[in-house]
């Protein structure tokens, strides 16, 4: 890996990133290559338009939310470390026992990430309006407003245990306890 180490020098804080996220050197390189590919203007950082250029993402119903997740609050650009950190959420977990749905650090972390995508205003709860927005974007134009309302109503009723008409993170986690999050939120590519 002689040549790669010289390439690694281009990448700022590579060692630290590897430590933090658990990616291997090869991965970091691959992600850097992808970063550079997305960064068409060679600015060293990505802007929403760079993400928007991806066709698949444009067609994705929640594409804009995903893009938004990369940009931390207030910032308009994404540098490479942030890029990697966000993607690190999708690494498959190492241990086998997670399959039983046991509470583990990484499972919670993944769920937190997903929760943030729902909870756009970052108030720690998924309100009815936020849920409606998600449903609207997922179901596109195929349903009427009343149907959406019903579904949102139903979903909140099911999940909302403390009757505050919104879904908190704990309730969110509980409603997904039977789903194998590690499997659903992991990508092979990022192993």
């Amino acid at each position: 890996m002689g040549s790669s180490s010289s390439r690694m020098d281009h990448i700022p804080n590579a060692e630290q990133l590897m430590q933090e996220t658990g990616f291997s050197a090869a991965h970091i390189l691959r992600l850097y290559a992808r970063f550079e590919f997305l960064d068409k203007d060679e600015r060293g950082e990505l802007r929403p338009e760079d993400f928007g250029a991806l066709r698949g993402l444009a067609m994705n119903p929640i594409g804009d939310r995903i893009i938004g997740a990369f940009f931390s609050r207030g910032k308009e650009t994404v540098d490479f470390p942030s890029f990697v950190r966000v993607l690190a959420n999708f690494r498959p977990t190492e241990t086998n026992t997670i399959r039983d749905g046991g509470q583990s650090f990484s499972r919670t972390r993944k769920l937190k990430f997903a929760f943030k995508l729902y909870d756009q205003d970052r108030d720690g709860k998924i309100s009815r309006e936020e849920l409606l927005q998600v449903l609207r974007s997922m179901l596109e134009q195929q349903v009427t407003e009343e149907q959406l309302q019903s579904i949102a109503e139903r979903a909140i009723q099911e999940a909302d245990l403390d009757q505050d008409d919104a879904i908190s993170f704990e309730e969110f986690k509980k409603s997904l306890e039977r789903v194998n999050i590690d499997e659903k939120m992991s990508s092979h590519f990022l192993r």
Binding site: L31, R34, F37, L38, F51, L54, G56, L57, M59, N60, P61, I62, G63, I66, L87, F90, P92, N96, R99, D100, A114, L117, Y118, V134, L135, M138, L139, E140, Q142, V143, T144, E146, Q147, Q149, S150, I151, E153, R154, A155, Q157, E158, A159, F172, S175, L176, R178, V179, N180, I181, D182, E183, K184, M185, S186, S187, H188, F189, L190
Partner: protein
């Protein structure tokens, strides 16, 4: 797989009944067996008489016989009678086992059935008759096997299957190959040992050994189904073993034909091996292609069946069977064709057909596959008693040991490789269950039976060994797997249903992962799934699904189904509303009751007993609109003398009464603003009217008391949609937009002519099929399959 059994009946007079059953069965058997031997004589005498008649006629000199008032002509009906008798025997046996609950708890049904087969075979032999060649390969492959496979394929849980497809293929293809060669090779080696005392084993060459290996190495879907069904293991393991048993058919077919072809020649060249590989691809992919084509055809046909609902199930069965036969015609893998056909057609057919057809298909498939399976095991027993046996200690014991050993090594080795690629790894416990679940069954036996005696002089020895292995796996492994599963605390199947939250979030996560994969530039699993879904939504669904259903997003469909199920549960348990005592609380909906015993607890849990008023309103509307749809469906039954389910009608009446009462109460209080799901565009009003007019069994509502507003529909002149009055309350509640929908919804509104306003109107019809489905769905707890959307 959903259980095909009902709950056990109390063991009160079970022994007596059991004894009685056995007695009846024995008598029937004896009755059938004896005439078998005597069959020939009446026939010939009959012929002789005829000849005599003809001859003497010519001579114009016949003796007039007294006219036979009562005659016995067994030969005339012999074959169908025997078939019916066997089926009856199988079914009675199945009944009998459940009269002894303790027994069926310990011993899996397959074992009991084989034992019965042995008994029956023994009886027949004792009676001195020839045992009929029941496990004739043609009968087996053409009649007994397809229903089981179709049942499996139609209800195959697509999502876990696709997610684990790589693993399943590895086990099926590589695992079976490994088994075949390992067993065949080592057997040959073992046969060559002992040069000191030459035995018949020496004559066996390599190729027959390999052939034997390939026959015995395939995991059998029938046996796996029979055993795994009872142990309720978690979905992953179930689909792995079951999927493997289905997909290894292609490998078995190719290997079998390859070795059989060349056993005569005595050697196989590299070229042949190469051709074998190509043949494998052809067999597998060709089978799937044939199945998919027939599946698409069936889906397309079902699009047009809205007028002749009664024969809808027939299309499903006939197309599938033809797929199987067509594949067999080309020596492709019939099993894979059948699976592909069932899995392909299912999402589209289910969207098109009526609810009753859906139930019919489900029940027929379960019934046939159940009978088939029972028969197969019984016949295995009979054939064991009958078959020419040639017992050779060395051969048989070595075979059994080798089967076990090769299975274990195969599974462990493959898992090691597979785990490198899996996100959710297979643990040691999993590996053990997979290895232990590798049961052999009747397919192996039938394949052995097919061998030509001339080419394979040691056929009998093979058959004996095969039967031994089958018995060993079914009895020993089948009986012990349940305690082992308990002992090892293997994760069991999750019985609970999906909630709407899970559904929403799962879809959300799917989109999320697809997006992430796009960002990474990696075309992974999610990407292709997403692409396929889009393609499906855009093109395929439009072609194959009739009417408006083609545009229905799967979340909505799921939601409708859930809502309705909950509505039913609410009504069943009396709901959160205090009902006047006129409505009996024991609404015995026989359809849903047996499996929903825990259900009344569930609504309390799922939706708090203090339901908001809006919810009840919603439920009422759903129920009411469903009633209308149910009524309309009745038409097809009348025409073909299928009597409409009296319970449905009775239930309908009950519902109407309940609704009246709820309305009354509601009227007094203020109505909340509620939310419901409006209708999909309905059938045209004319059609609705026509249906109702011709349906004498529809509206039988009777007024209970004067205070209860009644529905009186004059059949001769059903109300036209224009006479719909939108409720004032609606306007008050500010649902103006709904007003327009009222007009063109449901052709027929159930309104009491006397009352100018009523609450909670009309056909807020939801999707008819999903609603009716839930209402009269008597399914055994098979609802898991219904919850699986297409490529979710």
């Amino acid at each position: 797989m959903p259980s095909r059994r009902d709950s056990h009946s109390p063991a009160g007079k079970s022994l007596l009944e059991r004894g009685l059953l056995l007695l009846i069965v024995l008598v029937l058997l004896q009755g059938s067996v004896l005439p078998l031997g005597a069959a020939s004589s009446p026939d010939t005498s009959h012929n002789d008489n005829l000849d005599n008649h003809q001859v003497t006629d010519e001579r114009n000199n016949y003796t007039k016989k007294p006219f036979p008032v009562l005659a016995l002509d067994y030969h005339h009906i012999q074959t169908p009678f025997e078939i019916a008798l066997w089926v009856l025997l199988a079914s009675l046996m199945k009944l009998g086992f459940h009269l002894i609950p303790r027994l069926s708890g310990i011993v899996p049904e397959s074992c009991l059935l084989i034992t019965v087969g042995l008994l029956v075979g023994g009886l027949i032999k004792l009676a001195g008759e020839d045992v009929p060649p029941v496990l004739d390969s043609r009968l087996f492959f053409l009649c007994l096997l397809p229903p089981i496979i179709l049942d499996a394929g139609y209800f195959l849980p697509i999502r876990p299957f696709m997610e684990n497809l790589g693993t399943i293929l590895m086990f099926a293809v590589v695992g079976t190959l490994w088994n075949a060669f390992f067993i065949g090779g080592l057997l040959y080696a073992v046969c060559q040992i002992q040069p000191a005392n030459p035995s018949i084993l020496h004559n066996i060459e390599l190729l027959p050994c390999l052939l034997f290996g390939s026959i015995i190495s395939a995991v059998d879907p029938v046996a796996v189904l029979a055993v795994f069904e009872e142990i309720h293991i978690n979905e992953l393991l179930h689909i792995l073993v079951f999927g493997e048993s289905l997909l290894n058919d292609a490998v078995t077919v190719v290997l079998y034909h390859l070795f059989e072809e060349y056993s005569g020649a005595g050697k196989v060249t590299v070229m042949d091996g190469f051709l074998g590989i190509i043949s494998f691809l052809v067999v597998a992919l060709g089978g799937i292609l044939v199945g998919a084509i027939y599946g698409i055809l069936a889906a397309f046909t079902s699009r047009f069946t809205s007028h002749v609902r009664v024969i809808e199930p027939l299309f499903v069965f006939v197309y599938s069977y033809m797929a199987y036969l067509s594949a067999e015609m080309f020596h492709l893998s019939g099993i894979m064709a059948l699976i592909a056909c069932g899995a392909t057609m299912r999402p589209y057919v289910e969207a098109n057909i009526s609810h009753k057809s859906h139930t019919t298909i489900k029940y027929f498939l379960k019934m046939w596959s159940s009978v088939s399976e029972t028969l197969i095991f019984i016949f295995l027993g009979v054939a064991t008693v009958d078959g020419p046996h040639s017992w050779n200690w060395t051969f048989v014991t070595v075979t059994v040991i080798l089967c076990l050993v090769s299975r274990v090594i195969g599974v462990v080795g493959l898992t090691y490789v597979i785990n490198k690629f899996r996100i959710v790894k297979l643990t040691t416990k999993d590996q053990f269950i997979i290895a232990y679940g590798g049961l052999r069954g009747a397919i192996a036996f039938s394949l052995g039976f097919l061998l030509d005696k001339n080419l394979f002089p040691m056929r009998e020895m093979f058959l004996t060994a095969i039967i031994t292995v089958v018995f060993f796996t079914v009895f020993v492994q089948g009986m012990t797997i349940k305690p082992l599963v308990e002992l090892l605390a293997v994760k069991k199947k999750q019985e609970a249903k999906r909630t709407i939250n899970e559904e929403i979030h799962t879809q959300f996560l799917d989109h999320l992962l697809t997006g992430i994969e796009d960002i990474c530039g990696h075309y992974g699993h999610h990407h292709w799934k997403d692409k396929l879904n889009r393609f499906n939504k855009k093109y395929v669904k439009k072609c194959l699904i009739a009417g408006e259903r083609s545009k229905e997003p799967q979340l909505i469909a799921f939601y409708h189904k859930m809502e309705f199920k909950q509505a039913i549960e609410q009504v069943e348990s009396g709901g959160g509303v205090k009902m006047p005592s006129a409505v009996p609380s024991t609404v015995s909906m026989q359809n849903i009751q047996p499996k929903k015993a825990p259900a009344p607890a569930k609504p309390a849990e799922k939706a708090p007993s203090q339901l908001p008023k809006g919810r009840e309103e919603e439920i009422r509307k759903i129920l009411r609109s469903n009633l209308q749809r149910t009524r309309m469906r009745l038409r097809s039954y009348n025409r073909h003398t299928l009597v409409a389910d009296p319970f449905e009608d009775g239930f309908g009446d009950l519902l109407i009464k309940k609704q009246k009462m709820i309305e009354l109460e509601k009227k007094i209080k203020d109505m909340n603003n509620y939310l419901t799901v409006p209708a999909a565009p309905p059938d045209s009003p004319t059609m609705c009217r026509a249906r109702l007019a011709s349906d004498p069994q529809a509206f039988r509502t009777k007024p209970e008391s004067d205070s209860v507003p009644t529905i009186q529909v004059d059949l001769a002149s059903p109300q036209s949609p224009d006479s719909v009055n939108v409720m004032d309350e609606f306007r008050r509640a500010g649902q103006e937009q709904r007003g327009e929908e009222r007009e063109d919804e449901q052709g027929l509104m159930m309104r009491p002519p006397s009352r100018p306003h009523r609450s909670g109107e009309a056909a807020d019809g939801k999707d008819p099929q999903k609603l009716t489905r839930c209402l009269s769905d008597p399914g055994p707890s098979a609802d898991e399959e219904e919850d699986e959307p297409f490529l979710p």
